[in-house]
Symmetry: D3
Subunit: 169 residues, 6 copies
């Protein structure tokens, strides 16, 4: 048996409970799971790379086979450098399915030795995305239940909005 | 490191090159891969369970970490019995995507300790299914390139059709 | 204000928690909600019309503005006869979306005074359908959480399968 | 300039206004258009092959470059025999898009010299299919506007239902 | 019977015949319908909020149970403030279906007492959107039939393009 | 027989093997095929209009019935001016299908005498787009196999990236 390493790449701007769900489940399947913040110079992130790494480290400190990293460049090059066999992507039933497939195909063409495997997002998070979290937070909506509790204050601090959580969702 | 076992279930009525592609790639990711013919008493298969098992054994004899099996019942029960952590499904870009997602969700509900992971079918097989093979063969069309070469005669023998392959596809 | 009447048609073969969720929410929007078992002579139902009506009556007895009925024929004719302005359909994110749209369009053409309105199925039921319930039950899988608790025994009795619910889902 | 021949295959069980729209538009693009009733021994048609041919001949008699034919077998074989370069398919926005794509791909593999080209169904017919016509007619609903006027009586005669057209749709 | 209030939110940049169709049909189902211009500070609208309100008021002056309003913030907060039970969204067969579902789910999570109900856009407007209107108008194409006649001049005046309508569409 | 002229419009920023495949197949169906670079003042192209025209001329010089042109404005106006009966669009199984349909419908409304016909992209190019080529090239990934060989150096020269092609894909 060789060690199986998987990469879970993403923007994580910010981390959501949907991300955490995929990481938790993926960590049980692969011997080693690297959660990688992809830096995209063409996208304006709300959270800095350091902030996103800090969020991930905070919520993943109890996972002994999960590492946190960041990268800028072609994902397949990164996978090869990390000796990873697999790239994990979460698919929401409500999802950018086609885009993910297109990326998986081009990555397969660029490096056939790295496989992309898709995990289905838990149905209770099927509406959830980093964009939605930012949209809700920007209008002062309650984001409890959308993001890990321990990141709650950190994320809200970016939005200078009054917190409004009448009920625990 | 614990041994990672995956199941690749299907009807395999008959086996296609699309199936073989998923098996080949899946066998490199998991320590042990069980290819399982699902018997569905409500579907009339063209090939008997024994024929389908024979087809799989023939094309998979060189894969040392791949086993061939059959099952009738709930897939998650079978997975638990085999101590498998993962069910692999191939998704064609052109595909029964929603059906597979629905099955993955209900399986997750029935047994959350078994994960379904999706692999993307190679784009050159995106049009390919067992049904298409049977449709083409029933009209005497050429099925070379659609199924493993070694199964060619066996599959055609079911259809009493004149073979017609002007060109190697 | 005129009284607003809506019809929620379906096969209900059997009733699921997804159906109940739509009925519950729909009953709050319309003054009167008629839940109608559509009899389709071309489909073989597992449960008789009477059984399906009994199931609905059992779980809906506390809803004062909800009636239970059955019909065979064109839905728009039935709606007109009942003086209903609206037909309610539940859409699962994972869904026969296109089919429902096609039916809504033809119904609109046949009778433009009856509107079809779609409600989104609760995401936690997005995988759920009567077919899935029957599939799981036929293999002796646990259907708790999929159907209303009070219908549990009635539904299982159709399948002569050993009940298997290790955990409350 | 070589003569361009296209085939428009279908079940035409029965012919609808959506079919007629595609034929009308296709006949303006290609020098010769062959409308071909595909006989599928595995599908039970409501109308006989002769009835379907008669319907097509009736509504197409004024189209000088349109022929009516029938075929049983592989479509690409038929296309080659007819020296047709193109197969035309209508796509409804609400449609079996994926199925049509799969068929186009397999046909391309079986005979790369025959192209499948898709025309978009007129949006006012996007809900329309032969199945819908049969469904409506079987319940005595009005099918005016769904099928060519000249076929109205012929189609209704199959269904022994009372005609019910309060308004011209 | 309690009064049923629905909100129909949108950018209305500009109002199209598709919007008007939904408003007209929605006004027959709910006792009170509020058409609300959503101001999104992150999107550059071509028409000012005032212009959009004026357009809506102009075409809706004969609807006695329809009001026109605007809002900036979380839609569910607005619905609660207006004591509305329902948010209406139009779905085009050709549509941002998934996005609308995602928004409905998050709104349901933020405030479960507000329901989102979807109405199917009339098939003859299935291609129509405010973006298409702006695209066509910017190149001097004819927008008759795409927008209410009474708004024709107002909308064109934004585009300094020569009007070109050979035929009434 | 009248001459049949088709237009194949696109951004071609840059030309890919997917484009070339559609042009090659389209040129066999129509008597005259005009490949037209659409200039969109609202999109920032990486390659200038002249560069895109030069790329197309270079790879199409052996096609005797194919012309290369550019246009800014409404596509249907251009088609009329060129006396073209048909607009060709390539659909990837993985594709902006809905967008293309919407454009075809509005074009049909603006000028019903111009038809849009869709050809299916070869499955081996289903992941391919100009955007993907630019994404890969910007990170120094190998674009051989994605674009015509003769354009390889020209395209890479835009990206100042080290060429990295270990293997011929």
């Amino acid at each position: 048996m060789t060690q199986k390493t998987a990469i879970y790449p993403g923007s994580f701007d910010p981390v959501t409970n949907g991300h955490l769900d995929i990481i938790d489940r993926g960590s049980k399947i692969f011997d080693r799971l690297i959660v990688t913040v992809l830096e995209n110079p063409r996208k304006n992130a709300v959270f800095s790379t350091k902030e996103r790494l800090d969020m991930l480290k905070l919520i993943l400190e109890d996972y002994t086979n999960v590492e946190v990293d960041y990268y800028q460049g072609l994902l397949v090059d990164y996978a090869e450098q990390k000796k990873a066999q697999v790239i994990i992507k979460g698919l929401r039933a409500i999802s950018d399915f086609e885009y993910e497939f297109q990326m998986a195909m081009i990555n397969h063409k660029l490096n056939p030795s790295v496989e992309t495997m898709f995990m289905m997002t838990n149905s209770k998070f099927s509406y959830l995305s980093s964009s939605i979290v930012k949209e809700v937070a920007s209008y002062g909506g309650c984001i409890q239940g959308l993001v890990p509790d321990s990141l709650y204050d950190l994320i809200l601090s970016k939005f200078q909005a009054d917190i409004k959580c009448d009920t625990i969702l």
